[in-house]
Symmetry: C2
Subunit: 596 residues, 2 copies
């Protein structure tokens, strides 16, 4: 039989009690986390959001009737307990818990809610994830998950305080907008009032935030839900959250980057007590050349090395053929781990890089017995000596070499190998945080599929003024005023300065191959808005889910979202998506094709 709380007030949270509270009369409320019945003595752990406190029902202190009542307690019962804080006996002290030196000696117990046996132990994150998602409200009782949600809330709060201080106004933009043909697939919402018409859920507030700048709102931000109906990769969700911002009357990347970097530093300082140094700037071309990635993990070195000139005319066909076809040869060196790689390991590394579109991987190591290499025998001795000298190979080092006709392909393959080896050989401190900006992205990339240049970011991203002359002659070389912020190899956010000059926008559309009609069809009212006085503006969006994962050192995106969806975009708890009543579809004037 359960009881009513009847106005009884909680005096403390479980996890906040300590030796300083010894002797205090307290009322705690929470869930029974553990229970041990020793006859005349019952120990229970009481759990709430703040932590766990030991409760003792002791017949030396309390009535027999209270002990009888306590003996009914089962795991996850919700109770209110009033009693006195006292020091634990020496043998009961648990120095690993903040409350480990005290216990509450119960004088009163209210059983507020009983509980069935839970389908998995509360706090057990090794239980099947599908089961935990089905009973998400029980998995939410796990402290690690609760702490992730508290962290996320804390991040949002710091973000808002910081941006408000910087003069940004928080503005909500619509969730039910218009479908745009560019970009990823939209989630659609059928209109009942206008049968046959559809709203689309926003992929980002991009258009709205630029319109707010045209509307004179000066500095905007929003922690905005966004939606993409994509086949989900791991760590993607159909709905996700962006910290979205835009500011007017600036046209240099540094002005947005400065605000954004200040925000990240503030989050790390105020929440994690970590003072991040200034973020270095790395041009996109350098990021690809040195790390084979536009989001390099700079916690460790092991940079890529273009050895094309070193291995020219080496006699080794693999390199010579590639170079004579205009290709490139890159190497990386894994220091002092040669002996940790068996032949089988090396074969696996070859298979690994092949998934990145290169044909193979060569290696060259120095060990106690001399050389170990997949290609050295085929190489001229002088070339080999040059190579060893160039790579500064020492005994115990092993280098990996890759060649491909397309330089970007070899860079990306070697970049992936670099990360793979760093993980495998623990080449970095997992508690470290290393951030940087990647800048000077190409404005355009050539789409073989469409036979034209497409915008790498979006068609409203501004080119760099100093590259404008290349728009007519060599568009591929034009750099954009775009920037990504990267921490530990994860892209935290990105943005760009926007075009605010009508002539330049028209030129950009020309390069992209759009005629007037195409512009109107694709960008409609948005382009028209630029005809009435547009301030210089630019912005950036952070991924909040990603930010929380990085700051919380969490690998699984479902651990930073209260009610996440599976990779099949379903909610196992509620069963969404689900069938609806025929009446609902009739009202909307739609029909599922599979329903005859």
């Amino acid at each position: 039989m359960t009881e009513f709380l009847a106005g009884l007030k909680r005096t403390n949270m479980c996890g906040e009690l300590s030796q300083a509270d010894n002797g205090k009369q307290v009322t705690l409320m929470g869930w029974i986390h553990r229970r041990r019945d020793l006859g005349g003595l019952i120990f229970a752990q009481l759990r709430d959001l703040s932590g766990i406190c030991q409760i003792v029902f002791d017949t030396d202190v309390c009535d027999k009737s209270l002990l009888d009542k306590a003996s009914q307690l089962k795991l996850e019962y919700v109770v209110a307990i009033t009693g006195q804080v006292r020091m634990r006996t020496q043998e009961n002290i648990n120095p690993n818990m903040s409350t480990g030196y005290i216990e509450v000696c119960a004088e009163q117990l209210l059983i507020l809610s009983e509980a069935n046996t839970t389908p998995f132990s509360i706090g057990d994150d090794s239980a099947n994830e599908s089961l935990r998602l089905t009973y998400r409200y029980l998995d939410l009782r796990r402290s690690a998950l609760q702490n992730n949600l508290l962290l996320r809330s804390r991040i949002c709060h710091e973000v808002r305080n910081y941006l408000a201080e910087q003069g940004f106004c928080e503005i909500e933009t619509p969730m039910m907008g218009r479908s745009t043909p560019e970009g990823a697939r939209d989630y659609l919402v059928p209109s009942r009032v206008h049968t046959g018409d559809y709203y689309a859920l926003p992929q980002s507030p991009q258009l709205y935030k630029q319109l707010l700048m045209i509307g004179g709102m000066d500095r905007y931000y929003q922690i905005a839900r966004c939606f993409r109906d994509e086949d989900l990769r791991a760590n993607r969700q159909p709905e996700f959250t962006q910290i979205d911002m835009e500011m007017s009357f600036v046209d240099k990347e540094e002005e947005v980057m400065g605000i954004a970097e200040g925000l990240v530093k503030r989050l790390f300082a105020n929440i994690l007590n970590i003072q991040l140094p200034d973020f270095p700037r790395l041009a996109y071309a350098d990021a690809m050349r040195l790390y084979g990635s536009d989001k390099p993990d700079t916690r460790y070195d092991m940079q890529l090395c273009n050895i094309s000139s070193v291995v020219t005319d080496s006699g080794c066909a693999m390199f010579d053929n590639c170079l004579s076809a205009g290709g490139k040869v890159y190497a990386i060196v894994l220091r002092q781990n040669e002996s940790n790689l068996s032949r089988k390991d090396l074969d696996k590394l070859v298979d690994f890089v092949k998934t990145y579109k290169v044909k193979g991987l060569a290696w060259l190591g120095l060990n106690q017995t001399g050389l170990r290499s997949s290609f050295a025998k085929a190489m001229r001795e002088k070339s080999l000596d040059n190579l060893i000298a160039h790579l500064q190979l020492q005994q115990g080092d092993i280098s990996f070499i890759c060649a491909d006709n397309n330089e970007e392909t070899v860079q990306i393959a070697m970049g992936a190998l670099r990360c793979h080896l760093a993980d495998k050989f623990n080449l970095y401190d997992k508690n470290d945080y290393k951030g940087l900006w990647v800048v000077d992205f190409p404005l355009l990339e050539y789409s073989e599929e469409e036979g034209r240049y497409v915008a790498k970011h979006h068609p409203f991203t501004s080119p760099k003024e100093e590259d404008l002359h290349l728009l007519d002659t060599n568009p591929a070389l034009v750099r954009a005023k775009a920037y990504d912020i990267v921490i530990n190899g994860d892209e935290m956010g990105g943005g760009s300065m926007r075009i605010y000059n009508n002539d330049l926008q028209r030129k950009m559309f020309n390069v992209l191959g759009f005629d007037e009609q195409a512009i109107k069809d694709k960008f409609g009212f948005f382009v028209n808005a630029f005809n009435y006085g547009t301030p210089p503006h630019g912005g950036l969006a952070f991924g909040l889910d990603r930010m929380t994962m990085v700051m919380g050192r969490v690998d699984n995106i479902r651990e930073v979202i209260a009610f996440p969806k599976t990779q099949q975009a379903t909610c196992l708890m509620s069963g969404a998506p689900a069938r609806v009543e025929k009446k609902q579809l009739d009202e909307l004037g739609i029909r599922s094709i599979d329903q005859k």
Copy 2:
């Protein structure tokens, strides 16, 4: 020809300059708001989010070439201007503007963006609203609208600071959930991956927030977008925003009401500099009896008066028949306005109350020539004297009387008349704010349509403990632990304490006539969640749009939303909702019925 900003930095916002800045060199950026060309002298008003500053191009100071350039300026051109702040000449001073004593004497001008002639004058809120919604980005340049959005942002920021201080954790709940058959009509989102299945956009985070309490999150809040696919009344939007909160380990209404009232007081104090007194509590029954409304406007008095006993056996058939049928007679008195109501006005009032389902309205006024009444002749003299005495009618007063067999009907009609007269005769100070709580709502109301009791709030709202015994015998009398917060006759928010006791929940379902299968079908996984240990909990949601309207003294909901929809749920700017490509519908496995 426009120019690039090229890194030039704004030093000040237009509206913040004052006499204190006299002599300073400044760079301002904004839109040309007005322009006056006096030959060798051009005056322009430059506008940004902060306000307006006068710029002067004066050939005494600047080059002829700068004047020539300035002469090209048209309204809404975006410019950057560098120059020196100086005092205006005496005849140019405008004491109504904060910047009205100074002007900036331009030395440099960059034309950053040209502008076509706008379809309406910027700042003109008398222009057709459809036109302004179509060019919302131009209407957003109107300072009144900008100030509303700034107010809304400010409210959100104060809400978050307050709730964070009170230990609430901000948690995002899904936008794509499961459709529930109870409640208003859902917006649906077809699933591509699971053809034939649909997500629903949330009408509120109600289920999720209760699950977060069951999950141990203790105190939750969210500024949450909600959706209802209803035929829109004025001042409703298909998407709207709630300040949503829930807290655990409380079971008395006062504990949630205290937090919520503290929040409202804080908003008014910190944003409007208004110290609101404590909010009085008014039982629902009293609110209906005294004001004929569950959201009474208490800025003025003119309470309803039940005169049933006064007019018993009055000889007046209208009253006698009603009373003998068990009905009620109510009056209100409009003081000192008798002479302001013509016979035609009185007839209009009769028509007005008839729209509230009553059959008519009687009146009785005292003026210089004596009585004016629709019924006095039919009444016994003694009854008439009693009535005049009871209503304390003085010369110049007029009373209105209404009778109906259903007491609530007559209350509601008289409540509406009360508001109508107060508006018509300006019976209150429009700058006043009067708030109160309406409490002790009925738990249930009888649905003639369904032939059963239905929950007035929702089936998880807790009855008051002291009324539990009535659940079996007289459910209509059971009061709920529910509360609404009302300001100036507008419902700002409402909430309730929830049932956390399984036995009571089952009893509640019984009263509502649900069997086990119906419970499972209607509430499914949600009810199951209550089987694993549920803390006492309760919460409340404020309407953010409404709150902003009340605090900003704005009547039109579209004035507090950046990109609102029309009453037909369309966005005139983007054209949403709109047709989509057939390919999109094919991928979703749906078809519009009107598309063969």
